[in-house]
């Protein structure tokens, strides 16, 4: 699968099927889009509280749990003050 190749060693945003969001560095992937993410941090969104970042470390995520992987513009991400952001979490996928 050629489509994830360009994201290797880049900081990415991973959105899981249940709506959770994790930022990390993409270290590897395979045919089934299983991925290895290093320096993971979960970003927990809430309407009532600022965004909370929870360090998770090194993760292997199964491809079938993935909703989306996005390449982060690091400069733009650093410019955002997460403590000012209030939002509902991303809705989970419903089949």
């Amino acid at each position: 699968m050629s489509t994830l190749q360009g994201y290797i060693d880049r900081r990415v945003l991973l959105v899981l099927q249940d709506g959770r969001t994790i930022v990390g560095v993409l270290s590897g992937f395979d045919q089934r889009s299983d991925i290895i993410l290093s320096q993971c941090k979960e970003r927990i969104y809430s309407m009532d509280d600022p965004v909370e970042e929870v360090p998770l470390g090194l993760y292997l995520v199964k491809g079938d749990q993935i909703l989306l992987i996005g390449e982060m513009d690091e400069a733009q991400d650093n410019a955002v003050d997460l403590s000012t952001i209030r939002a509902d979490p991303i809705a989970p996928i419903r089949y």
Binding site: G19, S33, L67, L68, A91
Partner: protein
């Protein structure tokens, strides 16, 4: 295979992908694979105010299995060609 081929002909066109959680993402189609996983460039999330999660994301990989619809540019889809190809593929399927 047929629909994979159609998506390949739409590379570099703007499409809107609607996911099974109602999130809609518009962007330029950069690539697609056999699972219909999709790479989009220059993305814009519909209703950005409610979805700040992807503010710093410029391009993304969407897993095919979470897609509900893809809105396509009608002027770049040859419907006659598609129907002929679909009939051909159906005939091949029947022979097996």
């Amino acid at each position: 295979m047929l629909i994979f081929s159609l998506f390949k002909t739409l590379t570099d066109q703007t499409v809107t992908v609607e996911l099974k959680n109602d999130l809609s993402i518009t962007g330029v189609l950069k690539s697609v694979d056999q699972f219909l996983n999709i790479r989009l460039d220059n993305i814009k999330v519909l209703d950005e105010a409610r979805h700040p999660h992807m503010m710093a994301v410029k391009n993304c990989f969407i897993r095919g299995s979470v897609v509900r619809y893809v809105q396509l540019p009608a002027q770049h889809v040859d419907t006659q060609l598609l129907e002929d190809a679909t009939r051909r593929e159906a005939a091949n399927q029947a022979k097996r």
